[in-house]
Subunit: 340 residues, 2 copies
Amino acid sequence: MSVTIKDIAKLAGVSPSTVSRVISNNPRISKETSNKIKVIMEQLNYQPNNAAKSLVSRTSHSLGIILPRPAEELFLNLFFAEVIRGIVTQATKAGYDLLMTTGTSDTEEIEAVTRLVRGRKVDGIILLHSRRNDPLISFLQKESFPFVLIGRSKDFPDVITVDNDNVQASYDATLHLILQGHQRIGFVSGPPNLVVSQDRMEGYHKALQEFNLPQRSDWIVEGEFLQESGYRAMSFFMALHERPTALVVVDDLVTFGVIRGLTEIGYRVPHDLSIISFNNIALSELASTPISSVDIGIYQLGYIASLTLLRIINEETIHQRRNIVPHRLMIRESSLSAKE
Amino acid sequence: MSVTIKDIAKLAGVSPSTVSRVISNNPRISKETSNKIKVIMEQLNYQPNNAAKSLVSRTSHSLGIILPRPAEELFLNLFFAEVIRGIVTQATKAGYDLLMTTGTSDTEEIEAVTRLVRGRKVDGIILLHSRRNDPLISFLQKESFPFVLIGRSKDFPDVITVDNDNVQASYDATLHLILQGHQRIGFVSGPPNLVVSQDRMEGYHKALQEFNLPQRSDWIVEGEFLQESGYRAMSFFMALHERPTALVVVDDLVTFGVIRGLTEIGYRVPHDLSIISFNNIALSELASTPISSVDIGIYQLGYIASLTLLRIINEETIHQRRNIVPHRLMIRESSLSAKE
DNA sequence: TTATGTTAGGCAAACGGTTGCGCAACACGG
DNA sequence: CCGTGTTGCGCAACCGTTTGCCTAACATAA
């Protein structure tokens, strides 16, 4: 059906090998033969067959990702789109495509990966997240298949990761509140078993400690990365008689919930409570009170992950285990000092 | 490196063909041979090589999409993530993976598609959008390569599409405002050259006409699918001395801009102006005033597109040219009648 | 017994490329 | 004139599966 290397060869009066060598710019082919063949390839719209190439080269020139399953959450969606953009941009630049698959259950997920890995449908895999003792990581390590993890895992310290320095980021965010004059600062966290929650909590404590500010456990609330959690956290704080004057919130979406809770009882941000949070989803800017947020460079996480994975695949040995994407404080209205 | 069909054959004392036939459940293989071989495959973790399969079957069992380039816009991000979820869910169910690529320019984009199509890296393509006289569509038609378009194209009437009935949707939205008692209804549109803008404009006019309501051209503003456009539209309306009391807005993000403009001058939604818009991005619910919006079933668009494409690939001829995904009015605070 | 089926599975070509090795043709130094 | 290089390209094997055709072994019918 399609035009093959043999068609070209026949027309040019050479052997298929010669055509192949022209394609790979093999120097042992004379300039004129090469040019003649190139012209013919052009005329016939020749495009090499990927399967055939793959079969002999044992590479697919595709990178794989597993679509996160519980994608109901808004943040996941926004994160996902951005990180994909980063991944695919870099991958395409290097001549790789991005292959996505999914599974509706844990076992289906691992089956899907097995298929990609053992069936050589991809040359490497980017993990968008990890769970505690993630079986995917175990599997990939056992197969010694190239992969990188976005985020970091405490269970598998030797995995190659691309991550933010969440401890530092949270330290910076807290510091910002301190510099605005706040002394009583609370923290709304995410699921305690996620590394990212732990890291951000740590940075928060570090800053408080450094400035000798009160670290009260009733100023810390744990929850999900959901609006609801923010709302609930707020009602918890309201029941206290000594309340924080500022909050570090683990995620922008949660902040939305906090603000909703505040608004309902007539409190205002930042006048009654200053807030800074994380992830800087596009939404943060659009809130009724624009939210100060730590931009974690989602696009870059993807971009660097892709870059790193390609290095591993091409066996450039230089890679550090842990790659850090810098964060940036986006200061908006929600954290600006109310006192002037 | 990996275990191949030959390894299995050797261990089982049969020929590779037999193993192949076991895999494809060929009835000419005895139950016992078949079982013996299956056990060995299990033990050796056999997984068929995709490239080899592809080469002989001339199919890749992958679907392709082109990542939209100017993905800076929030709506695009949210749309993108949802539609992908839909596509990949259905595709995976049918044993297909999803391949993504991109290009940084028009020509790169078409080169990328050429590579996928002629190089047989995918079996079909889903177009996430189309431009006027989209060269991609021309190309795919010329190659008679299976593809479906999400949205619809006026330039290529015979393309197979998955779309909403935007005229009806907009009619419904406008009707909702009318039933709330509004007589003076404006429209904030998107880029006039997009089919979706045109369709929604049409439905708006249709409803007004049917109810003999004023159709004033100064109550219509065109813009982008961006917050800014909403903001600008608002200042335009404010300069009028006869203003609409309600607005149909082409996209939720634009509505955010409208509301911002309104808030700045102390107006409130829906008290001073009722609004209903389109797309129902997750954000709409989170706005300071939750936004009424027409849910267009983004996930379903992807899901149906995938399903339809697979039908085309498998040459099930039943397909209609145009597949409509139903919409749903999500009525929230922003459009609730102010008069009681 | 022989002709005819049926069953279970092997042989080898094919899919479309890549690549190690060989070889002819020519150049050139000694 | 011969030996040694160099240049330019072809031969054929190979990557891992699939599949049309063939055949050995056995069963069955006449």
